[in-house]
Symmetry: C2
C-alpha cells in the first residue's frame, strides 16, 4: 500500500491500491460492465480484458468482465479472485506500463466516477438477513417484551435469521416508495390498509458469496471465508407497523420485502485483512460446528445521516456472531450458498445511545423523538427524507478503505 | 379437447391437447432445452422453433426454446403464453401437417418421455411459502397451543407466508439428504447438534410468475392471474425439531431451507379453466385489496404415497386463500414478482383425517403412528423412505389434466 499508482489517488482517498473494490457501471450509450475503483476513477475491466491483459489471471476474462453483473466472477471462486486482485495491483502500479503502452487504452478504460452510473453490482440469488447484534436484539426485546428476558432462549446458541426478498434488493440512489400494507393498532377492532406510518431503516453490513458448495455438504466455519467474495453496506428498510401485525408465526414478510438498498462497490474481503479484530466473547460457549478462532470481526466505522445530519455512529466490530459463523450456520443443514447470495448482518447497534442502527431504537419506539439539524424531530421516516449510510476502515494516518455509501429517499405511495 | 393429435395419446391419458405442460429436458449428450408433453412423448420445442414454426406466435422463439430453463418464456408475459399455446394446439392437431411435412423433423423433435431426463423447469427467483389451508393452520395451532385459539389473530385477515430458500428448490427425483441442525428437546438443558429426528413432508401446490410488475406498483387481485404462468406440485420438506428451536422470532429457516422439491411439468394456468371452482367463504370479510370474485380455486385431486402406499388424499379446492389473493398480498407493499418466482400454497389439508398433507398432522405430532402397507409404522420419515406426491384434475369421463408427480428419497447424512 506504500506503492503509488499511475492513476491519480488524492491524498487521504479511501480508494488506493490496497482497496480495489468491484462494481457494475454504465456510461451513456454503453452496456453495463465490470469496473474497479481507483481514486476518483473507474477502470473499465471489460476494456482491459479485451486487450488480453487479464488472461494470465483468469481464463475467459473478457467474458467475465463484459458481463453486466459480478456473478460470473463470483462463480470462479477464491483462487480466481486472488489472482485477479494481484494482477490488478500489478497493472495499476506506477512502475507498470502494460495499460499505458497500448495505444488509447488508458484513455478508453479510465473514466471519472462522476461520469458513470453505478448499477446493482450483482444479481442477488437468495437474501438472508441475520439478527446478530447483541445490543440490537436486546433493545428490541426490551421494547417489545418489557417484562421478560430481552433475549429469546435460542439467541446465544445460533445466529437467528430469516430469508428476505432477493428481487427487491436495489442499488444506492434508488427511491423508496413508502409501502402500503395491513396494520392493526392495538386498540383497533380490525386491521386497516394504508401507507406505513412507522417506516424505519436498519443499518447493516452484508457479504456476498461465490461458487456454491454441493447440496448436502455444509461449509464449516474454518472454510467459510473462502466462500466470501466481499462486503457491501445495507439499508434494510422496515415498516414496523406492517411487520408487527404480520410476523406471527412465520416471521417478517411485507414489512421488509418492499426494498433493501445496497452500496454499489463490493469491498473484497481480502482488502480488509489489516482491519480484522477479535469478536466479543460468546457465553455460553457455542456448539462445535459454530466454534470460531482468530480475528473473526472487522473494525469498520459506520455512520447514518438523515437529511444530511448524522444521527448514529457505530462499528461493525460489535457483532456477536461473525460472518463465518453465519455462513456455516446457514449451510449446516446442507443448504447451498451460491454465487450472488447476499447475507446481511442484521441491524448493527453498539452499546451507546447514539450507536443504535435503527430509528425504533434511536427514538425508543417513538417515545423519545430525535432532533435533526433543521430543528425538526423524527420518530420514523417522513416522505422526502433521505437516509445515507456510510462506512470506512482505517484512516487517521493508517491506510483507509472506504465503503462509500448507500442512500435512499422516501417517496409517498401513489 | 375432442380434437385428436397426430402424436399418439393413450386412452385416458392425462396429457392430451387440452393440457400441454412445459418442462426442461435433456437427451444423452445434448444440452437441456424446452419441451411440451403430449401423451407419452415430449415435443422438442427448440427443434420445432429452429424450423421457424413458432415464429408467428413468438418473436425470437428459437432462442426462447433453446434455453435450458423456462425463464425466457416466462419473461414474455401472458399474451405470448396464450399465443404459443394456441399455436402448439394447431401444430399438434391431427389435421395439421406442418411438422410432419418437414423432412425428418417429427423424428427429430418427438422423443419418448422414458428417454429424457427432466430438469428443474425454471430458475427460481424468490420462493414464497404460504400457510393458506384453514385446516392445516388449525391442526398446527391445536398441536402447538392446545389451550388457546388455534388460529392467530391475523390468519383470517391476510395470507400468512414467509420467504423460503430459492437456491435449494430441486426437481422431482433428487435425493434428500437428512439435514443436521440444532434442536432442543424441552427437557434438555441446552441444544444439541445432529441429524433431524422429525423429518416431515408438506404437500403443496405452487405457481410460477412471469414478467415483473414495476417496483412500487402492486398487482391487484383482478389482474393477478395475468401474472401466473402455471402450476407445479411441491413437497416442502420440513425438519420439525430444527424448526421448533430456531423459529422465534423471525420464522422458519434451516428447518426448511435444505430442500424443496417440485414436479418437472409446469401446468399452464390456462389449461385449468375447466376445473375452476369457488373458494370457501371468507369470514370476516377481507379488506378491499384482497377481495376476490368468481371461481377462485381449482378442483385438483392430490395424493401422497410413502414407499408406494397411499397415506393421504386431499384436494386443492379446500384452500382458504386463493392464488390471486396470495399474489396481490405479496405485492401489496410494492414488491415485484419476477419471472421465475415461485409461490407455494402451504400444506394442503382437508377436513378429514386422511386429508392431512403432513406427517405431523397425520401422526398427530407422533402420538398416533400411521401404519404402512408393509406393516411398519411411521411418525416421521426414516432413511430410505420415498415420498411421492401426485395430482390431477378431471377424469372419470371428463378430460383429465395430469400434474405428474414429485418424489424424493431420504438419504442419511454422512
Amino acid at each position: 500500500m506504500a506503492t503509488a499508482s499511475w492513476v491519480p489517488v488524492p491524498e487521504g482517498s479511501g480508494y488506493g491500491l490496497g482497496h480495489l473494490p468491484y462494481g457494475a457501471f454504465r456510461r451513456d450509450g454503453e452496456s453495463a460492465r465490470i469496473g474497479v475503483r481507483v481514486g476518483d476513477h473507474v477502470l473499465d475491466l471489460a476494456a482491459v480484458a479485451a486487450e488480453g491483459l487479464l488472461d494470465e489471471a483468469l481464463d475467459g476474462a473478457e467474458t467475465v468482465f463484459a458481463a453486466p453483473r459480478l456473478n460470473p466472477l463470483l462463480e470462479r471462486g477464491a483462487g480466481a479472485w486472488r489472482a485477479v486482485r494481484a494482477r490488478l495491483g500489478t497493472l495499476l502500479d506506477g512502475a507498470d506500463r502494460s495499460i499505458r503502452s497500448r495505444s488509447g487504452l488508458a484513455e478508453r478504460a479510465l473514466v471519472s466516477v462522476a461520469e458513470v452510473r453505478l448499477e446493482l453490482p450483482f444479481e442477488v440469488g437468495d437474501y438472508v438477513d441475520f439478527y446478530s447484534s447483541l445490543e440490537h436484539a436486546t433493545n428490541l426485546g426490551r421494547l417489545f417484551r418489557p417484562d421478560a428476558e430481552p433475549l429469546l432462549p435460542n439467541w446465544r446458541h445460533l445466529p437467528v435469521c430469516y430469508h428476505g426478498r432477493a428481487g427487491t434488493v436495489v442499488v444506492s440512489g434508488t427511491d423508496i416508495v413508502r409501502p402500503r400494507g395491513q396494520r392493526k393498532p392495538p386498540s383497533a377492532p380490525a386491521p386497516v390498509f394504508g401507507p406505513s406510518a412507522r417506516l424505519d431503516i436498519e443499518l447493516e453490513v452484508g457479504f456476498v458469496t461465490g461458487r456454491a458448495n454441493r447440496l448436502g455438504e455444509p461449509v464449516p466455519v474454518p472454510r467459510a471465508e473462502e466462500h466470501i467474495f466481499g462486503l457491501v453496506l445495507v439499508n434494510d428498510w422496515s415498516a414496523r407497523d406492517i411487520q408487527a401485525w404480520e410476523y406471527q408465526p412465520l416471521g417478517p414478510f411485507l414489512g421488509k420485502s418492499f426494498a433493501t438498498s445496497i452500496s454499489p462497490w463490493v469491498v473484497p474481503l481480502e482488502a480488509l485483512a489489516p482491519f480484522r479484530v477479535p469478536g466479543p466473547d460468546q457465553d455460553p460457549p457455542v456448539l462445535d460446528y459454530l466454534r470460531r478462532a482468530g480475528a473473526a470481526n472487522i473494525d469498520l466505522e459506520l455512520r447514518v445521516r438523515l437529511n444530511g445530519g448524522e444521527i448514529a455512529a457505530t462499528n461493525f466490530r460489535h457483532m456477536y456472531w461473525s460472518m463465518a459463523q453465519q455462513l456455516a450456520h446457514a449451510t449446516a443443514n446442507g443448504a447451498t450458498a451460491r454465487a450472488g447470495d447476499l447475507f446481511a448482518s442484521g441491524t448493527v447497534s453498539g452499546p451507546g445511545r447514539r450507536e443504535r442502527g435503527s430509528l425504533i431504537e434511536l427514538s425508543w419506539n417513538g417515545a423519545e423523538p430525535i432532533e435533526l439539524a433543521d430543528g425538526s424531530t423524527r420518530t420514523f421516516l417522513e416522505d422526502g427524507d433521505e437516509v445515507t449510510i456510510s462506512g470506512w476502515c482505517g484512516g487517521d494516518g493508517r491506510p483507509r478503505i472506504d465503503f462509500g455509501e448507500v442512500s435512499g429517499r422516501i417517496v409517498g405511495s401513489a
